[in-house]
């Protein structure tokens, strides 16, 4: 409901992905992958849509994000624009996989769909991730 309240022209930020990005950066690839799958399944069950699709896209996105995991630089990454960029990339990867299956067999052009829905959602999600980023940057500054 809160997410729909934030919708602009039907584009909503992926709050779940912001949290998964945080999880992946702090806990690593395996935890991120598990988290991506678990939350994806729960999300699909809650929403009642395409069961398994969110799970798949978030699993792969978090696994990909796990390559950027660096134990020693976690807090610094979280409190900088690197985190925003990270969220953007993960969101784009998530949407690319999601729409690749979503548009299969229906009259939707995949590149156009990814560009419009995927890219704009990634941008919006990245913009929303600025808030936790600023919170973490204060933590880094003031300890």
């Amino acid at each position: 409901m809160a997410v729909k309240f934030l919708a602009i022209e039907g584009i909503t930020p992926d709050i779940l992905l912001i949290w998964l990005s945080y999880l992946t950066l702090t806990e690593g690839q395996i935890v991120g992958t598990i988290g991506g799958f678990s939350l994806g399944v729960l999300f699909d069950l809650a929403v009642g849509g395409f069961l398994g699709l969110t799970a798949l896209s978030k699993t792969i996105a978090c696994f990909f994000g796990g390559y950027f995991y660096n134990e020693s630089k976690t807090l610094m990454t979280l409190g900088s624009f690197q985190f925003v960029a990270f969220v953007f990339v993960l969101s784009f990867v998530n949407n690319a996989i999601y729409f690749a299956i979503f548009v299969a067999g229906i009259q939707m052009h995949y590149p156009a769909t990814v560009l419009w829905y995927g890219l704009t959602t990634a941008i919006y999600t990245a913009v929303v991730s600025l808030l936790p980023m600023f919170l973490f940057s204060r933590k880094v500054k003031f300890g």
């Binding site: 395996i30 395409f50 398994g52 699709l53 696994f63 299956i101 979503f102």
Partner: protein
């Protein structure tokens, strides 16, 4: 065991990813919407291409059984092909006969040839119609090609036909073009001859020979054959005219019996003619 554990430790991220991707796919396939149906059909197509690409690799354990099955099937199919070929040829033949039967002026009884002799002096054939089909002795027998012979003996369901290629066979014939009359007879081989054509008569190779109206047995204008050679007989006043029969007796399988009987009054008046 230790090696396996080392491998698992080394690739644990990928193992976890593979496991969750597998679970996600299982969940995805539990849906039945357009996207999944499309993906299913795409998968079948890809599998089909892959199977086709690798189909040249034989399954060695299955080969002997496959060979046995294929050999048996080949024999069955060859038999079926032979039967179909025969049926096709019979179909063509019967259609031709049907066309002839529907357009002919004669009242005819169709019959099949049961047996025939073509290498004797008195060649005959047996057909599968008899008195039960209203067949009587002396009835003419024809095919769609022309004159075959005449009925000589009749039983209930079968009849014997005296062929044109028979020493005892005679028919009054006419050359269609020049209207020259003669008597058709046979003296051996697959050729008939016309007797009693004088040397002055107009007869040429290629002329069509038909039955004449003088015959009491055969209706007129039935095709008999084509003149194949004409020569003068030495020491006589007559020509030797050879006729190639229109009917191919070797391949004859279906015939027609013309339901006509000799005119008894006509026969009686002939008996009263003064004998020379």
């Amino acid at each position: 065991m230790h090696r396996l554990y080392t491998i698992l430790q080394l690739f644990k991220e990928y193992i976890v990813l593979a496991l969750f991707i597998f679970c996600s796919i299982i969940l995805l396939l539990s849906n039945n919407n357009i996207q999944i149906q499309y993906i299913r059909s795409l998968t079948v197509a890809v599998m089909g291409v892959a199977e086709n690409t690798f189909s040249f690799i034989p399954n060695l354990f299955e080969l002997p059984r496959e060979n046995r099955i294929l050999r048996r099937r080949t024999v069955e199919l060859a038999d079926e092909v032979a039967k179909l070929r025969e049926a096709r040829l019979e179909n063509i033949r019967l259609r031709k006969l049907l066309r002839f039967a529907s357009t002919t002026q004669f009242r005819i009884i169709s019959a099949e040839v049961i047996s025939k002799n073509l290498h004797l002096l008195h060649n005959t054939m047996v057909i599968n119609v008899g008195s039960s089909d209203s067949v009587a002795p002396s009835m003419p027998v024809i095919s769609d090609a022309g004159l075959v012979g005449r009925i000589t003996t009749v039983s209930t369901n079968y009849s014997i036909v005296q062929l044109m290629l028979n020493r005892d066979f005679r028919a009054s014939v006419k050359i269609q073009r020049s209207r020259v009359d003669g008597i058709l007879a046979w003296q051996g081989g697959m050729i008939a001859i016309i007797k009693n054509i004088s040397k002055s008569q107009d007869v040429r190779v290629g002329d069509l020979v038909i039955t004449s109206e003088y015959s009491n047995t055969f209706p007129p204008n039935i095709e008999v054959g084509i003149i194949s050679s004409v020569s003068d007989e030495i020491g006589t006043l007559f020509k030797k005219v050879a006729v190639q029969p229109s009917v191919d007796f070797a391949r004859l399988q279906e015939v027609f019996v013309i339901r006509t009987t000799p005119d008894s009054a006509r026969e009686a008046i002939f008996l009263k003619l003064p004998k020379e």
